[in-house]
Each structure stands twice: as C-alpha cells, then as structure tokens.
Subunit: 529 residues, 2 copies
Amino acid sequence: MRRLRTFLLSNFEPIWAVVQKVPFLSRSINRFIIDTAVTASRNRPHPFSTRSSYTSWASLTDRRYFGRHLAAPKRRDALPDKAEVVKLFERPAEGGRVCPKSTLLFPVFAQYLTDGFLRTDMEARERTTSNHEIDLSPLYGRTAEQTDVLRQRDETPGRKGRLKSQELNGEEYPPYLYEEDGSTIRDCFRDSDGNAILDPLLGGDKIKGKGFERQIFAVGGDRANATPMVSMLNTLLLREHNRLAGQLEKRNRGWDDEQVFQTARNILIAIYIKIVIEEYINHISSTCFKLTADPKVAWRASWNRPNWMTVEFALLYRWHPLVPDRVAWAGESVPSEEMVLDNRYLTAAGLEAGFRYVSAEEAMALTLFNTPGFLREVECRAIGQGRDLQVDTYNSYRDAMSIPTVTSFDQMTGDPEKREALKRVYGTPDAVEFYTGLFAEDVNPNTPMPTLIGAMVALDAFSQALTNPLLSEHVFNETTFTAWGMEQIETTHRLSDLVLRNVPTSDFPDRAEAIRMTRKDWRRSWVPF
Amino acid sequence: MRRLRTFLLSNFEPIWAVVQKVPFLSRSINRFIIDTAVTASRNRPHPFSTRSSYTSWASLTDRRYFGRHLAAPKRRDALPDKAEVVKLFERPAEGGRVCPKSTLLFPVFAQYLTDGFLRTDMEARERTTSNHEIDLSPLYGRTAEQTDVLRQRDETPGRKGRLKSQELNGEEYPPYLYEEDGSTIRDCFRDSDGNAILDPLLGGDKIKGKGFERQIFAVGGDRANATPMVSMLNTLLLREHNRLAGQLEKRNRGWDDEQVFQTARNILIAIYIKIVIEEYINHISSTCFKLTADPKVAWRASWNRPNWMTVEFALLYRWHPLVPDRVAWAGESVPSEEMVLDNRYLTAAGLEAGFRYVSAEEAMALTLFNTPGFLREVECRAIGQGRDLQVDTYNSYRDAMSIPTVTSFDQMTGDPEKREALKRVYGTPDAVEFYTGLFAEDVNPNTPMPTLIGAMVALDAFSQALTNPLLSEHVFNETTFTAWGMEQIETTHRLSDLVLRNVPTSDFPDRAEAIRMTRKDWRRSWVPF
C-alpha cells in the first residue's frame, strides 16, 4: 500500500499537473496525502512521556516533559560504545556527500523552524522548554515577559504594534542585545532586578565579550543568532511583522498598539505555517503533487489532538549532516564554523544577498559519515540523549510507523561501506539504535530524506502545523486576521514572497527564482514499483 | 428536530428498556445522544476568551483566562439596576419551590464536581485558576506542590501510595488543616518559608480561629470543606483512593510509593468520570435511555478538542436555588447556613449516615424566586461577573445552542408571577441578560433543569468528561490502570458503589438504594410532542 502510494505519487508528473488544476480533485488528493501520512502511526495523546516509565496524571498533563511515540522498552541489550557509534557519523576530512535536491536554504529553514519547538532543556535533558506549538517563539519569545521586552510598545501613530528594530546599512534588523563592552545585556532587555529576560544565548560562552562586535541581536529564541543564515530568516520575519503592523494600523484607525501587535502576530504565524507546508514540506516531499496548507483538512480529522513534542521528534531533527564544511558567501568560501554566532556576515551582505547565497549553495546529504567535524560533540550528545531517555530501537520505530522492519543491513543501505560499518558496530539490524538507524538508511529518490525520518517528519509536521489554534474552524477567518490579513495569508507561498515584500528596492534580477530550497539543477527521477 | 428527539427519548420507557439490553443498539443510541448534545453548538477551540475582545495568540493559549462561547457584543443596551435583578432570585421567607426529581445529593455532587474546574480567580474575576480538566483537584490539589503535601509519601509496605488521613470515631477522614489554636496551619502543610501550600479556605475569614473546632480538613480544594456534605464526598473519594492504593500495592509487589499513588489516581479519576456520566448526568437527563460512559464515543469525534472552561459555563453552574433552607440531619432540622464550614456534622454522624440524610432530603427547584437568603450576596456577585465580562444576552445563547429564541415572556415560563416580574425588570425578552434568563425558564419535565441550562450542561459535560486524557484511545487500557484497575472502573456506576466498598461494617438496611440523587417518589411524566 505504502509502495503503491509512493510509486503513483512520485511518477507521472504531467498527470499530477492536471489534477492539481482541478479544485475538487486537488483538495481531495491533498487531504488524502496528509491523512495517510498522519495516520501511519497512532493518535495523540501519547500514553507515555519522559516523566515516568508508566502513565500518570502528571505524565499526561505536565508539558515540561517530552511525549514519547513509544514507551521505554522493559529490557535493553547492551549498546555499543558511544565512541564507536559517533565514528559512524563523522564526515571524512576531504569531501562528504552532497544532496542532489536541496540548497542550503533548506537546512537553514529547518533549523530556524525546529528551534522554535524542539527544545531540550539543557539543565535536564528529559525535559523540554517547548510551548509545543508553532508560535514563532524565535521571533516573539517563549513567554509573555519575553514578548513584552521585544515590543516597541508605542501608541504613537505610525509606530503601533511594532517589534523593536534598528537600521543598519539602510536595512531593518533586530536591535543589539549587548552593550558596547560585548558582555553586558542592555538595560531594556533586563527586568527591574537586573536579570536577563530573554533566554541566554546558546553557546554564548564561546564568544564571551564579543557579543557586540559580532552584532548579536535581541530576539525571541536562544538559537536565533546561531548563524547569520538563521538570523537572516528571523530578520525577514521581523520585517514582515513590522510591515503587517504598519498596514494594519493604517487600515484600522481605532486600534491600539496591543491590537495591532496581536493581529500582526496572528497573520504572521498563519503565513509562516503556509510556508512550512507549501515550500518546506513540498521540498521534502517526493510526490509530484504539490501540497497546499488547507486548514480544513484538520477540522474534522481524528488526528486533530493537542500538540506535544516527542523525544523521538526532537532526536530525528538533528540534521547535522546537511551542513557543508564551507559556505560561498559574498564571493568568499567561509568555513561554516566561523559563521557561528556572527551576524556581521549578514549585515555586511544585506538580507536579499544572504538569501541568494544560501540558495546557490548545495546542502550536504542526510546520511552517515557526513557530519562535519565541528558538530561531532553535538552528535555525541544526541546519541547520549537517546540512550539516557531509553528510546527504543530503530526497528521498533519502523514498525510503529507501519514500515516493514528490516532483517538485514542491505535493506537499510545499498552502500557496502555503511553496511560493513553498521555490522561491525551493531552486529544485527535489530540491535541498531533509533538515532543511528535514522541516518543509516539511504536517502530516497526525489527527497532529501531517508525513509523513517521522512515518514516521521511528515506525521509530526502535518499533525502539528495544521492543528495550530489559529487555523482552527472558528478562528481561521476575517474576524481573527481582518479581510486584508486573510489576503496576505492567501497570497504567500514561499520565502521569496516575503523577501520581495520586505526588500523593496533591489537591483537583483530574477528575484523570486533565486530564493529557493530546491536546487536549480535538480531533476526528478523515476521511482520503480 | 430537537422536539422530536426529546419526545422520543422522554417517552416509551418500556421500548427503551429493551433497546438498552441490545449491545449494538445501546452503543449507537448512546453515541447518538452524546453526539447531538455536543454538536448543538460549535467546537472548541473557542475563538474568544476573557483576555481580550479580539483573538490573539495570547487569548488562544493563555489558560488563566476563561474561554467564551460567544464574543462580547459590540453594543450593549443599558441593563436594569442590579438590585432589581437580584430580587428576581430571592426565595420568600416562607416556602420556596421543591424539585420533584432531585434529592439533596444531586446539588451536593454538582457543587463538589464543579468546584474542581469552574474556578473564578477571586483576585481578578475575568481569570480562572482552573486546570480545565476533571482531575479531582478538590481531592488531590491543583498543583504538584499541593498534591505532594497531601500525600503520605511512605515506602513502608502497607502504606505506599496513600493520601494522608486520620481516624475519627473509627472512620477514615482527611487530616486536620489547623493546629489546636484554630488559625495556625499545621507545619506539614506549609513550605520551608512557612507559607501555606494549599489554597486558602474559601470564606475562611468567617470562621477565623475556629478552624480546629470545626474540624476543617486539609484537602486539595479551597471549597472542599464548604459544607459537611461536600466534605463527605471528598472523604469518600479519599477512602477509595487509599483502598485502591492498598490493593494495587498488594497486587504489584515491585511498585514504589509513587507508582502506587499515580495508578490509584488514574483509576479514581476514571471511576469518578463514570459516576459523573452514569449517575449524575443520567439524573439530569430527561431521557428514558440511560447513558453509559463509553470512552470510544469521543475517540474519533470531531468535538474531541482540548478542554477550556468558559465564563458562561462558570456562570450557569451557580445553582444556588437548589439549596434548601434547612436540612434534616441526624434527626434534627439544621439551617443550611449553620452547616457551612463545619465538619462536625459529618464526623458525628459518620459517612454512610451522611449520605443517607442527603439522599432523603429534597432539593429545591432551579428557578427564580428560589435562592435562599444567605446566598443573596453570592447571587449578586454572579450577576455582576456576567456584566463585567460582557456576557451576551439570554436570547443570543439560545440561538448559539440551536434553540429557537423567545419573542415573548410566556415562551420562557408559564408562571404569571415570573412573567410579570421579568417584564417589569427587562421590558422585552431580548433585553434579558444571560444569567437571569437561565433561571427564568421553567424547569422541564423529567429533569431538574430548565431548557438552556440543560443544553449547555450536557454539551460541556460530555465534551469535557469524555475528552479526559485518561479516557483517550491509547491510554484507556490495562497498561494505564492494570487489569484489576479496569475491573474497578467497569464495576462502578454510582456513589453507592463507593460507599458500600468503603464503609464495610454497617447495620443500615437497603444500603445501595438509600444513596441516590433521584427521589424515591419521583415518577416520569409523559412529554407531549
């Protein structure tokens, strides 16, 4: 059934192009693809969480813990040494594999997106600081207090509902977080006791004293400064928020700062979810049919249940292998590691140029032996987290996702080197742990994903994006967004739509086409049955 | 449609008795009744809350505010003076109307039940301190910290998983809250800074210094000591919890205190929900068909959405008129007001006798001119809260519940005195405010409820009880409750089942029949089409 679905949906592009144009057919196929992706596994609420090994009222309600797709197994065989496992991930000093489908914009978007809700609590790794929703927390903050200090809070006409921002080289960016000494957080981002209100910058220790020099921004997320590319996405959304606020204020004369802000946020979250599905998920998807973010699909769905991030989802989204060793940026080849926590690359290039650079750069392949050296430690921690939280085996998760379990390593990969290494480390496929198994599978045709990651990403993406309260039956309407706001949502499909709106003067040619997650040279391959 | 449904379901008792015995028919009718009750109005999520007059990310996610079935209307006509309105509620000094169907056990249960989740924040009445779930917070507390101090926390075999309790006159009760001075809270219920951990006793000022003398218990809810009748329900559930814990401990030798406690709580919440539907809602219901608490009904339902208490639900459940002026207790006629915050009545009589007294006492009718004098102030505050939170008119809510709006006062009540008074205060039916309208309608045949309250109670009860996470598809099973626990849930239908289990030695005859919400002398009436 699964094979037939893939076969039909991945081939026959001209037929799908026709189907796409017939509204009734298009709506039905869209619903079918989403429904079958989500119902591959069981519904929420998940009976288990990382809070305890059995179900309790606390485990069912305490959202500071991760949910679990599968309970911790009662008995676990001894696992291979972590040092041996991490070797399976290491990219050779020379080379590494390239992804035939994705530009670097794809992993950059994935990083920004998931940093918003896949949030391991660094103090207690069985816990999460997630709000469990796509709420644009990297832009707006996780808490009301954080949102508050990021806002302008100004009732002056022409300034209502805005997020704080600054102009650099004639373009709008978030404000700086640090004073000129590079380590003191600016007063306006601290509470009356002097404590920082925004979450501490992740990895901030590494650039101690250089926060100002590196132009670290005051933003909602502790990872939204991680690289100038991630910062670029956040800046784009900040500009769009302020643009929406400006228009809303003009069109609704009686509104105060609060209503302008809240309505702009409503619209921007809905726009963001559209891009998540219509650009990002469509890029991931191997199907010819292009999915649309139709909120109606979820309104009566039996899988429309409250979101709750799972530990498996948090693990499977560590896409370190996608990161190239070097990035072509402003005519230079810059080592990726150097770009970490340094927004100067962004402000020097400008927003649109940044988007063009990452869209021209190839992403690497999501597979073993492909994690860049500087992310080795992060990979180690991921393996450790999977073990500490007693995540079940790779094969158990294939089974849970209605995918046949594997009985030999050649069902996982056609690459003799990978097979050999897996055999040496794990002995049998049944012994392969979840995290390794995810990346051990070969990447499928027409998608940047291996099988199990692809299935789990689709399930979690749809069941969480489309169940957003702003998309719900009695909320997704003009009362919530205004008629003009609905129009903004309807006419946005891709990041390039936002760039074009928010970098108005530009001498770049071919603007919309140059900003893309799918490589220009990518060609669909035929998928045999 | 609504009339036909009522006509068919309220009459033809012998036919329904047969239907009830055919499992397939019985399951389908059960689902039909519940589905039609819930879909009379729109699904959650509610687009509006008491947080702001428009929809925002905060209003959709900040559960410290009430949801709203209807938005605040843009324009409101001037409302009559509150003092005039409260007069419509006052019970005459002599008399008051009796409810033909209900015993006093019915309002006592309603009070205990709703105090668990309909919780106006007394500091800011647009807010709520509710967890929005049926979680037995009056027994276990609203927060983890509260639950913690109510637990024995003892790993000694034979004492695991228990709630703290004491023996009085040979029976088990919750521990006392106060020291012998009557106003100092006992150390074990305070944190290391000496602050009280349990919510302050509601109305505690009135009995200042008498907390010990009146045997106030340390319990989860700030209202669970409100009367000895409410305390009696809470005591029954405490005993059942400790009984379940004792059995679980014996049957699962490896379990620690925590697992015994959590599993007993799981079972008790499920048992409680069964009683809510199978005894309490069936008592309210005018139908011949007896509903069963079948969790499956909700598993695929389009109304299975996260609970969120609404301000309308909080208002419509203020059933002060049901309270009699005096209660026959242990051979004496005691003024209701005297019983407030005094558990001596309960401990002197004993648990089973208490249940028998309230089951022998008649409840009063849920209607205007029937609120006892000592609750006049509370009634005043309810009217004020409805106005402050800009709740829409009575007719708007009939419409929202798919009930035809009324155009003349005789469509609301057949009582000339009530019609006259309503006309004097409001002028036209369209001007009647929600709170007054609820109680102005005549009580319907075969139920203690007027029309609008009945419809809204059914909607909220089912859509909230059956969507409890413990009843969800992958949680309601032996893994969560144990096989023995499932059996306990299956074999419990009424409060008397719990009383019989937890007051083992007793010389009361006819025990099960004597504990009841429906009066022994109640007879079903024919409902014309």
